[in-house]
Amino acid sequence: MPKVKIDNFEIEVPDGTTILNAARQIGGDIVPPAMCYYSTLQGSGGKCRTCLVKVTKGSEKDPRPMPKLVASCQQTVMDGMEVANITSEEVLNARKGVVEFLLINHPLDCPICDQAGECHLQDLAFEHGAEQTRYEFERRTFEKIDIGPYIKLHMTRCILCYRCVYTANQLTDNRVHGIINRGDHAEISTFIEKAIDNDFSGNVIDVCPVGALTDRTFRFKSRVWFLNPMNAHRDCPTCSGKAVVWMYGNEIFRVTARKDKYDEVHDFICNTCRFEKKALSDWTVEGPRDIDRHSVISQNHYEGQTQTVR
């Protein structure tokens, strides 16, 4: 079991663990942010470069530092490796640059976007980005596309993390969702805008870190911070049936899968649960979800453990 030191925290992890996952086992501030890596999707990661870290000592046998910053979601640990993430000025500067690059073509239409409030790019830009853009040219724009009756693709907002493509590849049986063209022209497409009618296609909405893929049944209905996310479950023949219902009063506005603290879904839910079961009678509500105190979703909510006054 190799021992690795990340920002002076030492941890022993199994062979083949990536730096990112080792950092996640330590937890806290030193976990590098990730826009494209998704633990439950095989092969994801290595695209967005937000998880760049500096390896100050390669390993016990070869203590030379790595010449360039490495993507921590791809680089596996070696025994005696020393990694600097938030302790390295170089990493923080590089991350700031990466955020600027990601925002070059991303429209600043957060007031309109349904993802606002739970958007990773928003959080990333807030925590690591510069306050103002230096970009002066026209941003790339696309027409909005309806992928089937439930999903809206707004390519303009896409950061090409490929998560949805992996989801379509791994969760659905025949791939009808992919990326066409190259480089700056690359575009998420279903090939001739064909509707995806697989039962699990709705999960591309949950894995999308930005507002490129959004729920058409929830489009402009409300803002996430006005809703109460509740854990709920139902007997579903196709999926686990464990989901989060976003409620306003007694009305269910939308249904999403349950995300862990890195906003990753482990139990993917089916389209029936996500799009068609919007009546309170369909679900057994377990109780309110724990929301991070710093999240805008926790605004005006009582959350966490409440204690009785003695």
Binding site: C110, P111, I112, A116, R223, F226
Partner: protein, 186 residues
């Protein structure tokens, strides 16, 4: 007994002098003060006809602005409602349809926008939160009414008119907010 403060006065029931007993000098000196005030500058205004200039910090009846082309600025992003400490603002969004481009600036707009004027504390956090420069607190005084229901102002009471005559000028307030923002930012 010792007095606690030096403000207490002893009441003396002394006999009035002749001049005090005839009262005329006191009346005349009172009349003189009244007469002086006839020629002083008047403090009161005939309010609805005449209006005093308001300070730029004055925060009254809200307005939802339109842009130069007459399109509504508000996109129903909900930031004003989440910033509102009194939870006075509620809204419902809708998608702009084809042919409505001259009415709404963005593809989403507020179909319903309500401010409960009884809840509102006129703190101005909504205009500070607004990313689209859509809501401003103006120097107009909220009219009084007998029915509570009438204080829930919908879009008919908040959105300014399209024609230039019905526009509501907020340039002074806008400049004040800008100065306030840059001042506090440094």
């Amino acid at each position: 007994m010792q007095a606690l403060t030096n403000r207490s006065k002893n009441v003396v029931d002394k006999k009035m002098t002749f001049m005090e007993r005839i009262y005329l000098p006191a009346i005349l000196s009172g009349m003189w003060i009244t007469l002086k005030h006839f020629f002083r500058k008047k403090n009161a205004l005939n309010y609805p006809e005449e209006k005093r200039p308001f300070a730029p910090v004055y925060r009254g009846w809200h307005v939802l602005k339109r842009d130069a082309k007459g399109r509504e600025n508000c996109t129903a992003c909900g930031l004003c409602a989440v910033a509102c400490p009194a939870e006075a603002i509620t809204m419902e969004a809708a998608e702009r349809r084809k042919g409505e481009e001259h009415l709404y600036r963005e593809e989403k707009y507020a179909a319903v926008y309500e401010i409960n004027m009884l809840r509102c504390i006129f703190c101005g956090l909504c205009e500070e939160a607004c990313p689209k420069e859509a809501i401003f607190l103006t120097d107009r005084i909220v009219p009084s009414d007998y029915v509570r229901q009438n204080f829930i102002f919908g879009k008919d009471m908040l959105v300014e008119g399209i024609d230039p005559a019905n526009r509501i000028d907020v340039t002074v307030r806008q400049k004040h907010i800008q100065e306030h923002k840059t001042g506090s930012g440094q």
